[in-house]
Assembly symmetry: C2
Homo-oligomer: 726 residues x 2
Amino acid sequence: MSDVLTSRARLRELFSPASIALVGASDTSGWARNVYQSLRAGGFDGRFVPVHPRHPTAFGIPTRPSLRDLREPADLAFVLVPTHAVEDVIHDAAAAGIRNMIVLAAGFGDHGDAGRLLERRLVETATGHGITLLGPNGLGFINAPARVAPYGLVLSPPLTAGPVGVVLQSGALASAVLSFARGHGIGFSLLVSMGNEAMVTTADVIDYLVEDDGTRVIALFLEEIRHAARFAGLARRAQAAGKPIVALKVGRSPAGQRTALAHTGAVAGDVAVVDAALRQLGVIRVRGLEELLVTAGLLGQAPPLRGRRMGVVTASGGACDIIADRASEEGIELPDFGPGTVAALERVLPSFASPQNPVDVTGVGLASQQTGATRPIVDALAAVVQDPNVDFVLTLGIVVPGTPPPEPAGLERRLDDQAAIMASSPVPVVAASTACHDLTDYARKVLQARGLHLLAGLDLGLTAIGHALRWEERRARRRAASTSPSPPAGEVASQGRRGSEGRWPAGVWPETAGRRLLAVARVPMVAAELACSADEAVAAASRVGYPVALRVSAAGLAHRSDAGGVALGLASPTAVRRAYPRVRAAAGGPEAEVDVEGVLVSPMRSGGVELLAGVTVDATFGPVLAVGLGGIWVEALHDVALRVLPIEEADARDMLGELRAAPLLRGARGGTPVDLDRVADVLLGLAGAAALVGPSLQALEVNPLWCSGDRVEGLDVLVVTGSREG
Amino acid sequence: MSDVLTSRARLRELFSPASIALVGASDTSGWARNVYQSLRAGGFDGRFVPVHPRHPTAFGIPTRPSLRDLREPADLAFVLVPTHAVEDVIHDAAAAGIRNMIVLAAGFGDHGDAGRLLERRLVETATGHGITLLGPNGLGFINAPARVAPYGLVLSPPLTAGPVGVVLQSGALASAVLSFARGHGIGFSLLVSMGNEAMVTTADVIDYLVEDDGTRVIALFLEEIRHAARFAGLARRAQAAGKPIVALKVGRSPAGQRTALAHTGAVAGDVAVVDAALRQLGVIRVRGLEELLVTAGLLGQAPPLRGRRMGVVTASGGACDIIADRASEEGIELPDFGPGTVAALERVLPSFASPQNPVDVTGVGLASQQTGATRPIVDALAAVVQDPNVDFVLTLGIVVPGTPPPEPAGLERRLDDQAAIMASSPVPVVAASTACHDLTDYARKVLQARGLHLLAGLDLGLTAIGHALRWEERRARRRAASTSPSPPAGEVASQGRRGSEGRWPAGVWPETAGRRLLAVARVPMVAAELACSADEAVAAASRVGYPVALRVSAAGLAHRSDAGGVALGLASPTAVRRAYPRVRAAAGGPEAEVDVEGVLVSPMRSGGVELLAGVTVDATFGPVLAVGLGGIWVEALHDVALRVLPIEEADARDMLGELRAAPLLRGARGGTPVDLDRVADVLLGLAGAAALVGPSLQALEVNPLWCSGDRVEGLDVLVVTGSREG
């Protein structure tokens, strides 16, 4: 039922009311005043009914004592009553035929067990009545195109309609978001304060925005990713639809205790998992509100940028310097202009200006900026957009004063001409201001009249351009990759379940069980023979070849090496015979809770490179594959590549390339290059093994994974599971 | 003479004219209009005389045909005439008794050899007349406190006076700088567009600002650091005076060809040298104009921040999240509040708000923000500033609407109370807005009336706080360190010069000469005997002990190893005898231009860690010491620590700590920790050796520097010098 209530159709109804009842409306309530003022600021021209049991009027408008007293149902009830009174209002609303509701009160799921109980009842009641409920503990929404802004903060007009859909998990940020957006001419299709998401969730609103024709880009402020699988599906759909998602994701979820069992978990960390997950999903991750909005504004308002070669037109050498530095950091190229462009620039630039990319038309351009009398900044743009070597153009020439100049005709003619050049340009043209400052009402007006959008300063602007380029590239790669075979996890999993292994053990597995799992998943492991006596160990050693390693195989023994359960580099039968009892005993005496199977005897490996690869389970995203070089690379440099599972073949290769230690794998120290395809196969195998174990998996780690040229072998494996559900 | 003309006293005169003549003033000149409008916008109330040979009036004011026709000398002539006419104007100015001049025209040092010649003559003429000349190719200056703004761009009033001195090597950026500063209530003591720095240099203006009482912080836009030694001295003086320098340094100087000779040079790179130099000098390096100004604004307008423990008061959970993330990135702590603070907060916060750091007073605070009716945001601030665990407080509670509210009394009372709490707080209180947006005139007025300064959004604000904290810490460290002994370079140098070495060779030194240099500088090198025949080599090998290395020692041979001039790991007399002729021949036959001395025989070293240490010469900063681990660390990870010489003892230890590979030196892989004091001594020794060679040094490199526990030995040394001036 609640799925129906949060469907796209129902959300469209929720966000587009023609009549609104404000429950708890009085002149003395700050919240009520805010909502009323916001509706006015947004230009709401529908029916507005204040509801209050005692005050006869609010804001000069006669009130109704209760929703039950409405003459006709309102499309939306905005409910300001205290926590304990909300439930009664829902019944009133239902009786009045109201289908949509915003609840502002806190003290529900945000406030302990009692609050959570209250919230569950709230949802049940609303669901029972077929009411779609936004909140509680949310501030409302702003539908700028429909001019409906029932919001609990004071909003300053105008609310600019535009292509950016905004979802906030902290409604109080709306003021800052709206001020910044207004200052930079960034328009919204919808802004929603999610509150506790008791019924309508962030995922529901994203789903709505992905389908909403008025939305070209989705900007998120996320404290938490609540429905990771659905979120992932939506992100993929948004990417396929060409709608970028930009996210400011804050905070860290508490580190899961169980991940501490295995080394991989300790270094991976939840923040890194969120990073990896969002990157995998093509979500653009930003670090501040300004970056969120400038990036969304660019993606929503400029044509797609499909190449890294940038032509630049400025009237300041200093700006050229800043652009060159930031472009280099973002991997944006500044190609030389073709001879035709150089010739054209020479005709329009002052003699002491240089017709190079980035172009500085010099102060002559500046001195005449406002009058438009001389026009090198315009003529240079006209020349540069025709250059065959550039994929897009950045201009700093769209300069508008804060107030109308005494004779605006020159300025307006210049802007008209610049807009015309941009509109007919064979490549996208992006305009920016030098620093981040708000547009005045006048500046916004003359720009919007010409469809011109200014990026908010060079620093944020080039950051946004970098994001946009990476997003387009990732999307193109993803499209190309979609023809590659799907991951083998499913195949392995079904094979495993049908196999002879039966149920998997729980807790820390004995290594023999881990090795059986990896065999099914086709992860190559070093040869190993199980010995149950010193004699058997010596015999096994002679078969696998000296020097050998002994490892105790026992269920329940996580830190085997620390406990002395491993002996390495044993070069003779005597050494093996001497080591056996010590290794065997490390698992504990008869009173220990571990279940000793015996001792594994393996040949030693030397030379090559030792990796560490495994799967941990993130509380939000589930199984996460990690790979890194062991030792200092992981411990001190946190040099680990991560992917949320499932992955595709290309992901596994990409992971190895991401490592800072990648040059070592490629033979940087004069060693033989490691066969990266084999290592990638092992990573895919580990992903398959994780799928095979299923939801009970807590950790799976091959450490070390020994790589020497085309030989790739796991030397040790640790598997930990939770319950016997696998 | 020109030193006198650019003295602080003369610059004070230049920047504080009571009368200004504008040469080339006409209603049709865009530049003239700009300067005139800027003077008006700045509120100039002195005498203004337009000068033009043909137009009888400009801007409605009667002109004089030439400076010679002035009735009394002007304090400053702003010269707009074309390049070729400037020199005549200087003579006119001198005849009129004018002592200060701004020249706007380009086409001098910025325009080829002819321009450079013209510029030299310009300076000679001005110097001859005792005229201080700013420019050419500069836009002027803005002295906001004195209300004098002769500037070639249109400036919007008001120009806010304040503690920030700004020096721009790109005058066109002034518009962006001023707009951003005005939008954020950042006031200037002086802003100067340097132009070509033909006479008055950036260093001169910094020198002036360091002594200027109205300046508390210096903000620089630098394309180039022209007088590195003087700049360094000024930076140290500024630090000692407690005036931070914040710099946006852009661009790269062309990589010196000579550094390509040695490996260190190739990896160090000029940009890294600038970074290192500025960090050593305590200059705060920023990456954008906004960061430049927000950082300068904080340092100029807030009390010094002397501890990393931050208390936070907000009315938004989302803002708390953003703050926590950014604080963590900046290394700022959010300590738990003491029990007294918690109790005080519990009294003033709504029941569902949590009295934790960072404090979110929740929407109740927001809903009443404008009226000031309920005051949790004020009361929470009052509680938090008293907390014993915090070193400073960040508040987001200074919220001001863009326009006056209908009843401003509540707002004003709240701001008064907040200002009073901040003024009497035992710890510094910093206020910020959530996002970066411009203050309206109204907001700026009510804030300035109360001495309140708002950081421009959380992202920039916390970046600025991080800079301020690091600057105070560095200053405190530098003060503590100033009692430590001075570097031994001088001592070593004098010893060397008095020694028996005499003049140093030029070009690529034979290794024997390099070893003699290092012996004087007390850098330990592996034992080595020079052999001039295979027999001598075998004899030497038996003395130093097998296995041995052979290295040809020859002047002029830079890439000895590539040429086959090195043989490693020779374990027997036969191997030595066989290798000798090959190694010896690698230097070339009799026709080669190298001067072969013989072959050095050394014992091999194994195990331990191999570093690479050396000195390269940067075009701007001179000798630069570099140290890193060899191999992948340098090649792929660019993991090199740099210091401009001279250095102090603490620097050498700090360099080793900066390396990402530092854990390896500390024995991370189970190895014996390297004796870092010994390595630091070697670094100091290399610095001394560089001083010993003097200005002819081009490269000095010990590679590898072998470290095993407390044994530290150079295994190979390369020295390259330019001419025989050393």
